[in-house]
């Protein structure tokens, strides 16, 4: 107390009227305030939305890249392959998001990146229509990402998909039947041990009654981290699609996930801990144009599918060692945009990073993102 005249306290009546006035003002302010959207939950420690979608990855020792993608340029769009397909190249992606061509011959490769980040196994698409080829012109190359050196790995007719096992000891491929003319018959998964001294061996047909339906096509090969299982997408005669998993030791194949003809399974990636598969489901947009694409995590044991991301399709890949991040390339705009999402407390993914990619390389689109395990933190 400083010795000044003490303030007089208002009487009860005045306190009540003042309180009511304050309450009224407060009510008025609340009523007039702009509604505040609930803040999307962010995982603890997750960065705010930033422009470095690959910053969470780290280079694998002296390897140059943290990921590779299939890239389409303006030149590739003009250099169409048979069936008017735009031509593409393999591009390496650095931690800062910059890209560098791994191939620059518009070879439209099917490829898979080894888990040590050192080698891309790639099969080019012939630029001549199959019927016009004098002889089968196909095979698999090993491309050293540091030196660019190409080494033939095996020669096979009409190789489709290529996926090296995590330990680099085996290649998974899709190949047509051996006893039919080129580009006829149904391609199916096959394995070849490296170095490819023996012919590829076909995977056994599926065991369950539903999986007994013969597939008309197989793609999106992905290995479990322990290299004991191979998952892939098949298309059935009624245009439905399934995720199937083959035990590469026993040869037993089971169906894990089934979607009808209204859905396109656009990508498949095994979780780093081997317990789930991440699949992108492409669907028709709503009448108002809203994307109905979604990403699901499929439990590798039970087959239970959980929606973890809505409004996102295309090629999704895990980008963290604990499965807490996923990354994809969005081609919906005028330039490709890389995006990374982090898992929140509820298990769903929220966007944390977004940046255009490949402007310096004249990229108009990119997909087939492949991130080696060694780059994941």
């Amino acid at each position: 107390m400083d010795g000044g005249v003490p303030a007089r306290r208002p009487g009860p009546g005045r306190r009540l009227r003042a309180g009511a006035s304050l309450l009224g003002v407060a009510t008025l302010l609340v009523a007039c305030a702009t509604p505040v959207e609930p803040v999307a939950s962010r995982p603890t420690g997750a960065a705010r939305l930033d422009g470095t979608p690959f910053a969470g990855l780290s280079a694998c020792g002296s390897r140059p890249f943290v990921a590779v993608v299939r890239g389409f340029t303006t030149a590739g769009e003009s250099a169409e392959g048979p069936g008017s397909s735009p031509s593409s190249d393999i591009l390496g992606v650095r931690q800062d998001g910059s890209v560098t061509p791994v191939t620059n011959d518009l070879g439209s490769y099917a490829f898979g990146l080894a888990d040590d980040g050192a080698t891309v196994y790639a099969s080019p698409t012939p630029d001549v229509a199959p019927a016009a080829r004098a002889a089968p012109a196909d095979g698999v190359l090993a491309i050293d990402l540091a030196t660019g050196r190409r080494t033939p790995v095996l020669q096979a007719t009409d190789v489709g998909e290529v996926a090296p096992a995590p330990d680099g000891s085996t290649l998974a491929l899709t190949l047509p039947p051996a006893d039919v003319p080129p580009d006829t018959g149904t391609p199916s998964p096959a394995l070849v041990d490296l170095p490819a001294a023996a012919n590829p061996r076909r995977l056994a047909p599926p065991a369950t009654s539903r999986a007994a339906t013969v597939a008309t096509a197989s793609r999106d090969l992905t290995w479990s981290p322990d290299a004991t299982r191979l998952a892939f997408v098949v298309t059935l005669p009624d245009a439905a699609q399934e995720v199937r998993v083959t035990d590469t030791t026993s040869g037993a194949t089971t169906t894990l996930h089934h979607v009808d003809a209204t859905v396109a399974l656009q990508s498949l990636d095994w979780s780093p801990d081997g317990t789930a598969l991440l699949a992108a489901e492409g669907r028709a947009p709503s009448a108002s144009g809203r994307s109905r694409d979604r990403a699901v995590e499929i439990d590798a044991t039970t087959g239970r599918a959980t929606v973890v991301l809505r409004g996102v399709g295309g090629d999704l890949a895990y980008s963290a060692a604990d499965g807490s991040h996923v990354t994809a390339i969005d081609n919906g705009g005028s330039v490709p945009v890389a995006r990374t999402w982090a898992r929140d407390a509820g298990g769903r993914f929220v966007l944390t990073a977004s940046a255009a990619i490949g402007a310096a390389a004249d990229l108009v689109a990119a997909d087939r993102i492949d991130i080696p395990r060694c780059a994941m933190r």
Binding site: F72, G83, P86, G160, A217, A261, A284
Partner: protein, 301 residues
């Protein structure tokens, strides 16, 4: 006059009246031509699942979406390019038994974009009418020796009257597409010289909105066309009118883009068989990087 005579005179009068009416009708039919509004749905379907991120939907999804769009628009002719045989078959099934068509595989592809269908991919035409007859697939010039050949697929149908419907997809390289335009324009001109009515739905890979490039389309167009203004910058030497071509009394929007900022896709009608009331409207479909071009005009006979 007795009753019998009155009935006889009434009957005579009635017969005379009937004869007069019949005669009037006969004179009226000769003077009034029959007409039908022809509605064409032209689309580069971009059947490229797994090959092009811009068109990453399956053949089945594509067929179902196109079918829905065709039925909603009330189209009676569909011309498609970059379409799987499977997509065509599924589309036909979805459209219903009133629809028939023909498909031609322009190239054997080496991938499974058409799954669950076989690796058959090309151009097609479908009509809400009986099956096309006199179906031809004419090989077009290939001056650059491209491995993928280009064809003009045509068939005769009856849409009120006899019409020849054609679908084609020209080369990307301008040196090739220019020769293909000339070849197709010549065939259409020959057909028109015999009084025929023809429709051409085509992905020409030539942008009429660019004046210089539009010159290559002269063998198809029959009058002033090209550029982005209504006055046009080229003069055609052909016999066709394009649905979205500028005209007096039109909807005010012409040569709308169908592939990005360019117009690649066209619906042509034989000028002297369809009225000068043509109209073209473009809409987007999520399954293709090309917009649908709906062209319509009134055919008379």
């Amino acid at each position: 006059m007795n009753a019998r005579r009155r009935r006889s005179r009434h009957l005579t009068a009635l017969l005379a009246l009937l004869a007069l009416a019949a005669g009037s009708l006969a004179v009226g039919s000769a003077a009034d031509a029959a007409t039908v509004r022809t509605k064409v749905f032209e689309l580069n379907a971009c059947d490229q699942f797994g090959r092009d991120p811009a068109c990453d939907s399956t053949a089945a999804q594509r067929a179902d979406v196109v079918a829905s769009s065709v039925l909603t628009a009330g189209s009676d002719v569909v011309t498609l390019q970059e379409v799987c045989r499977y997509t065509y078959d599924r589309l036909l099934q979805r459209l219903g038994t009133a629809w028939h068509g023909t498909f031609f595989p322009t190239v054997t592809i080496g991938d499974d974009r058409c799954a669950p269908g076989a690796r058959s991919w090309g151009v097609a035409l479908l009509v809400r009418a009986a099956a096309p007859t006199n179906v031809t697939a004419t090989l077009l010039p290939n001056p650059l020796g491209e491995s993928e050949r280009r064809y003009l697929l045509c068939g005769d149908v009856v849409l009120g009257t006899a019409v020849r419907v054609c679908s084609s997809h020209f080369s990307v390289q301008s040196a090739a597409s220019a020769e293909q335009v000339t070849a197709v324009g010549s065939r259409l001109a020959t057909h028109a010289s015999g009084g025929g009515a023809a429709i051409l739905g085509v992905d020409a890979n030539i942008d009429v909105r660019a004046c210089a490039a539009a010159a290559a389309l002269r063998p198809l167009y029959s009058s002033t066309f090209g550029g982005t203004s209504t006055t046009g910058c080229q003069t055609g030497t052909g016999v066709m009118v394009e649905a979205d071509q500028a005209r007096t009394g039109g909807d005010g929007t012409y040569d709308a883009p169908t592939c990005g900022t360019r117009k690649c896709d066209y619906v042509f009608f034989t000028r002297n068989r369809w009225a000068a009331d043509h109209r073209g409207v473009t809409t987007s479909l999520w399954v293709s990087d090309h917009r649908v071009l709906r062209g319509q005009a009134t055919l008379s006979w």
